[in-house]
């Protein structure tokens, strides 16, 4: 069954049609990639799923439930976690604290029991720490565990953001350009992690990525978008050789077999 179903979704920003009648399916256990030139509407699709924007038309369903009936802060409770293209971490907190916020959807104690630090709150806290510690181990974040985000290098922040999303134990992980700005080695690590997330943790992944090398390495199906419209869907190779896709990228020099990532 499809985990995420997007049907004929359209979103306009004033006169600009950012997403134009797009339909797509993300199946359970799959890595689905969205590619396309700058301004194609990829991040906007993520923001629609996150319910930051209301589509003008169309349906978005997750696990059979209508997402459009819910607000942005209810989306994570379905098991959807995400990262942002331009890293949105809690800057004045440590790595550990950031990951712990990722646990928010599993929160079971209220303000009152938190204030008096009831035994229940204590036990819950222990569970959160254990879960977060697993993520820290998985992503090799131990050296940065108690560091403030503010002072961390870009590459580490990207990983922390992935960690924060993983800490929520999602069913679907939305990654907006997970490899942008990363070095070759860091991109390699990211590819391994995404594979592990899919195969070992059984989490479905939907990602936006310009690095075609990474896209071909990890994703099953790929959808190419341009000007908010679907151009083609298929394997990475099929999409890259599709005439409409080549046309859309013509002159931008962005798409290539080896995958040159954007600066």
């Amino acid at each position: 069954m499809s985990l995420l179903e997007i049907d004929n979704v359209t979103l306009r920003f004033g006169g600009l049609v950012a997403v134009d009648n797009v339909s797509l399916r993300v199946n359970e256990g799959e890595v689905f990639a969205l590619v396309g030139p700058n301004g194609a509407g990829k991040s906007t699709i993520f923001n629609l799923i996150s319910r930051f924007y209301d589509p003008a038309e169309g349906r978005i369903r997750f696990d059979g439930k209508d997402l459009l009936k819910h607000t942005a802060d209810q989306v994570p409770s379905f098991g959807i976690a995400r990262t942002f293209q331009n890293i949105e971490l809690f800057e004045q907190a440590t790595v550990l604290q950031n990951l712990l916020v990722g646990r928010h959807r599993h929160r079971k104690t209220g303000m009152l029991s938190n204030i008096v630090f009831s035994p229940k709150a204590y036990r819950e806290e222990l569970r959160h720490r254990e879960a977060v510690e697993e993520v820290i181990e998985f992503l090799n974040l131990q050296p940065y565990r108690d560091k403030m985000i503010g002072g961390l290098p870009y590459g580490v922040r990207k990983v922390v953001e992935l960690g924060r999303a993983l800490a929520s134990e999602p069913k679907l992980l939305l990654l907006d350009e997970p490899a942008s700005g990363l070095s070759v080695e860091e991109t390699q690590d990211m590819a391994f992690w995404i594979e592990d997330i899919q195969t070992q943790m059984g989490i479905s992944v939907m990602m936006v990525e310009h690095d075609m090398g990474l896209v071909s390495a990890v994703s099953g199906r790929v959808m190419a978008l341009s000007d908010g419209k679907e151009l083609a869907t298929g394997t990475a190779a099929e999409v890259q050789s599709h005439p409409a896709v080549i046309e859309a990228y013509l002159g931008t020099g962005e798409i290539s077999k080896t995958g040159t990532s954007r600066a």
Binding site: S50, F117, L126, E130
Partner: protein
């Protein structure tokens, strides 16, 4: 140099990072518990009253710190919540409610009223909230006058003494008891505050402060979280207001004025935004400046026969200190303290840029 080896998750969750820290806070507790002994010995409790005043300010400061320092919502109206707490306390006590009930109740009602006032503007962004609370603070004096039957209006109202199971507590006749009572409330609130910060509620506050977008994407309801922070914040301010009333003995429409609201905000900035310690450091500065100025004046006039009588000297000095902090020490007194401590802990490995924040990246793709 000290390394902290963590052997279990408890090490992260517990109140103190390591044994030495627990020992330091234990010593500090002993010190504040023993302070009155000194004043008993010299037989003059005047300064103890000032210290009690600092503690009351720190309680209000902690309230504002939670809202501004930890949730990122500015308020220029916390004196109003203090007024709520103070007058509610007076009226409840006047109606025969025992202090042990009247005091917490006035805090809670002040918290509830504060939240109700704040709710309509919570959806708006920082500066609107600041303006709205500023307006509220400016109107407070008028409302106190209008609500004369409960507040005594311009003539003012006397604050009844505290009575706990027959034990009378009054700032002047029993300064030591009053000190211990305020100290107890302050420590209790510090404990609540610490608990909050190590559990999901506190983390949701700081998440909202640092990135509303991310907070929402993690499942945090912005309005509810902000309202919760406002409630706790105004409750603490209300409690501080009630204690302030007991400390002043008599309150009028001019007691909880705009200057007090602004002082509270400046206080937590000077102390160090985002740290519980900041509320205390700030309160100490605010508490000491008037005493220092008064002493300086007496010293100058008695030894050199120089009489300085500049009106507004206190505010000017205060503003000057504030500007210095914003320019040279944005992390406040507590930040300065952290740096000094790190310097000694890491000696000789301290680097000058250790506390510098990395420039944040462009946020062009931020969701609007």
């Amino acid at each position: 140099m000290r390394f902290v080896f963590k052997t279990s998750y408890d090490a992260d969750i517990s109140l103190f990072k390591h044994r030495a820290q627990a020992v330091w806070y234990g010593l500090l507790l002993l010190l504040v518990l023993a302070t009155p002994l000194y004043f008993v010995a010299i037989g003059d409790a005047y300064l103890l009253g000032e210290i009690t005043g600092i503690l009351i300010l720190a309680i209000a400061g902690m309230g504002l710190m939670l809202l501004t320092g930890h949730t990122g919502l500015p308020s220029l109206g916390h004196a109003t919540f203090m007024a709520f707490g103070c007058y509610l306390n007076i009226n409840l006590l006047g109606a025969g409610v025992p202090w042990l009930i009247a005091f917490p109740l006035s805090g809670l009602i002040a918290g509830g009223l504060g939240t109700m006032i704040a709710l309509p503007v919570l959806r708006l962004h920082g500066v609107y909230l600041a303006l709205a609370t500023l307006a509220m603070s400016m109107l407070t004096s008028d409302f106190v006058v209008i609500a004369e039957p409960w507040t005594g209006g311009i003539a003012g109202a006397a604050v009844p003494d505290i009575n706990i199971f027959g034990m009378e507590i009054n700032r002047y006749s029993t300064p030591y008891k009053f000190y211990y009572l305020v100290l107890f409330v302050a420590i209790l609130i510090v404990w609540f505050y610490r608990n909050l910060l190590r559990t999901p509620t506190g983390r949701s506050f700081t998440a909202v402060r640092d990135s509303e977008i991310s907070a929402r994407a993690m499942g945090i309801n912005l309005t509810r979280t902000k309202a919760m922070s406002f409630f706790l914040s105004a409750t603490a301010a209300g409690l501080a207001g009630a204690l302030f009333g007991h400390s002043a003995g008599y309150v009028t429409n001019e007691t909880f004025d705009l200057v007090m609201s602004i002082t509270l905000l400046l206080m937590i900035v000077i102390g160090g935004l985002g740290f519980i310690h900041g509320a205390f450091f700030g309160a100490i500065v605010v508490g000491i400046i008037p005493v220092a100025i008064a002493n300086g004046r007496t010293f100058l006039s008695t030894t050199f026969d120089v009489n300085i009588n500049v009106p507004g000297l206190e505010s000017a000095l205060f503003a000057f200190i504030l500007i210095c902090f914003i320019l040279f020490e944005p992390m406040g007194l507590y930040g300065r303290w952290l740096k000094i401590r790190t310097y000694f802990e890491l000696f000789p490995f301290y680097r000058k840029d250790m506390f510098k924040r990395q420039k944040s990246y462009l946020k062009t793709d931020r969701v609007q």
